[in-house]
């Protein structure tokens, strides 16, 4: 089976052609610019992963939302479900950049971290 995919590891965005060699699931990768392309292709064929990025509502924040991301990739299959869980949360201000808002989420047990700081409402005019 041949599959085309774009390696999203770096901006070079190599267009990979990936074929499954035998029943053991060994893969053959073509057009990769570096070894990371092979790693990426192998993961895409078995258990694709993505960084989760979203927003979480704030209580008493200078802004209504705080932007967040996972500190490591999550499994692609559960990404939508994890974002839905975050949509149900409300976090109290203030929050500092890099602060862990939700620990150990999903199968990969990632931490959801704030990607900026948001002060309290009364703290800013």
């Amino acid at each position: 089976m041949n599959k085309e995919m774009v390696c999203v590891i770096c901006p070079n965005s190599c267009l990979l052609t990936v074929s499954t060699e035998n029943d053991k699931g060994q893969i053959n990768v073509k057009n990769n610019g570096c070894p990371r392309g092979i790693e990426f292709a192998a993961r895409e064929m078995t258990n694709p992963e993505r960084i989760l990025t979203s927003t979480v509502r704030m209580r008493n924040g200078a802004l209504p939302l705080i932007s967040v991301r996972s500190d490591r990739p999550v499994q692609k299959a559960e990404l939508i479900n994890l974002v839905k869980q975050l949509d149900n949360l409300i976090i109290d201000a203030p929050v500092s950049g890099g602060q862990v808002l939700v620990p150990s989420m999903g199968a990969n047990k990632v931490n959801i971290i704030a990607t900026r700081e948001v002060g309290s409402k009364q703290g800013e005019i």
Partner: protein, 395 residues
């Protein structure tokens, strides 16, 4: 911010005039990841990338930041008039860097016929509403244009529970980066239909449907191919225009096709002491390249302000040849290495990039895959002999 930091490093006193209440501009609403890989070796979100620069700016005693200050005019004498909550004021500078970014093309710019209902947005506005203001835009969306912000918002809308019917693109190829097509559309099963555009907008108070028409490979409309998609939201991602009203009025020459400020390899514009970088100079794909441009503009602006400006001798114009949509800079200093950035006119494979002067080839490079969506940057080494002018073409 990159320009301010670079100018400060060279010993200049810097004032940053920012229209918003915060620094970082559009990065604050770009909550997705992918920023910083080239410069920092890290995959960051937009706010994180901006935050790293903002922290350095805050610590830099040579830099004064004035948020909430909107520049209304820059004179040729480099008097910068601003309005803010504190009133009207004027900053007098020895050098000016325009880092004013770009803005989105709108429905008006592409003249879509039909009614004027609520529910028609540009992609960046949707990004602002969703990611900063917590305001939902609709339930079922069609995205017109396959620019990067459109692709990124397609994914974001699906993740926030909106049904995205499809992305339509008038051109026969995707206008966004292939990595965004892959991870924003294909990941979520969102179809991308090429050679199609919205031909009519319907709805009274709220958008009810759009008509979609097809084009042949030469871009001619095919009559009778229209069909209708019901939707309450239409999102436009149909191009970005460098924002240069202030620079233009100050006398800065603008590129007739892109509206970007014309610059030399120091990113100095046609007005001595005025520099331009980032999306105001050319619309970039990657923020890392925007910051690199800021480094160059800030450094040379500082040199100009401190009276260390270079001699104009030893420069040569850069012309765009076949296959090139636009190229920057338009003038290079020959005694120094330069970076030429350009976009091609059409997608292709195994193309040869040629930098020539008359019949003489100065540089040749094979490009495996080219795409108008992806800016190409090549290193052009310092030259011993002045070739008079150079032409960059793609064969």
């Amino acid at each position: 911010m990159a320009a301010a930091l670079a100018a400060s490093r060279e010993g200049a006193s810097v004032v940053v005039l920012e229209r918003n209440a915060y620094l970082g501009g559009i990065l604050n609403q770009c909550i997705h990841d992918g920023f910083g890989l080239l410069r920092l070796g890290k995959l960051l979100s937009g706010p994180e990338y901006a935050g790293l620069f903002a922290a350095q700016v805050a610590e830099d005693t040579n830099i004064v930041v004035m948020p909430g200050a909107m520049v209304t005019e820059v004179t040729v004498q480099k008097q910068i008039y601003c309005v803010s909550r504190d009133g009207l004021f004027c900053v007098e500078a020895e050098a000016v860097v325009f880092a004013t970014g770009c803005r989105e093309r709108t429905r008006g710019a592409i003249a879509i016929p039909g009614t004027r209902p609520a529910g028609v947005y540009t992609a960046g506005v949707v990004q602002h509403l969703l990611n900063l203001q917590n305001i939902a835009v609709g339930k079922k969306a069609v995205i017109l244009g396959s620019g990067d912000i459109g692709l990124i918002m397609a994914r974001r809308l699906v993740l926030s529970g909106v049904k995205v019917d499809c992305v339509l693109e008038k051109l026969p190829y995707c206008s966004g980066l292939s990595r965004n097509k892959y991870q924003c559309l294909e990941d979520y099963g969102i179809p991308l239909y090429l050679s199609r555009t919205v031909t009519k907008i319907r709805g009274d108070k709220r958008l009810e449907s759009v008509s979609v028409g097809r084009f042949d490979e030469n871009g001619n409309a095919l009559p009778g191919t229209e069909y209708e998609i019901s939707c309450d939201t239409l999102i436009l991602s149909v191009g970005l225009i460098p924002e240069n009203e202030i620079a233009g009025k100050a006398g800065v020459a603008l590129h007739p096709e892109t509206n970007g400020a014309m610059v030399d390899s120091h990113l100095e514009t046609s007005v001595p002491g005025m520099f331009a970088c980032g999306n105001a100079m050319q619309v970039n794909d990657l923020v890392d390249n925007v910051s690199d441009e800021g480094d160059i503009a800030g450094k040379w602006a500082a040199f100009h302000a401190l009276g260390r400006a270079p001699q104009a001798a030893g420069t040569c114009p850069v012309r765009q040849g076949d296959g090139i949509r636009y190229i920057t800079p338009q003038l290079i200093y020959l005694k120094e290495d330069s970076t030429l950035s350009f976009r091609v006119t059409a997608p292709g494979q195994d193309k040869t990039l040629r930098v020539s002067s008359g019949n003489k080839t100065l540089m040749k490079k094979t490009l495996k895959r080219v795409n108008p969506a992806e800016m190409i940057r090549v290193h052009f080494p310092a030259q011993e002999i002045n070739p008079g002018e150079i032409t960059v073409s793609l064969l």
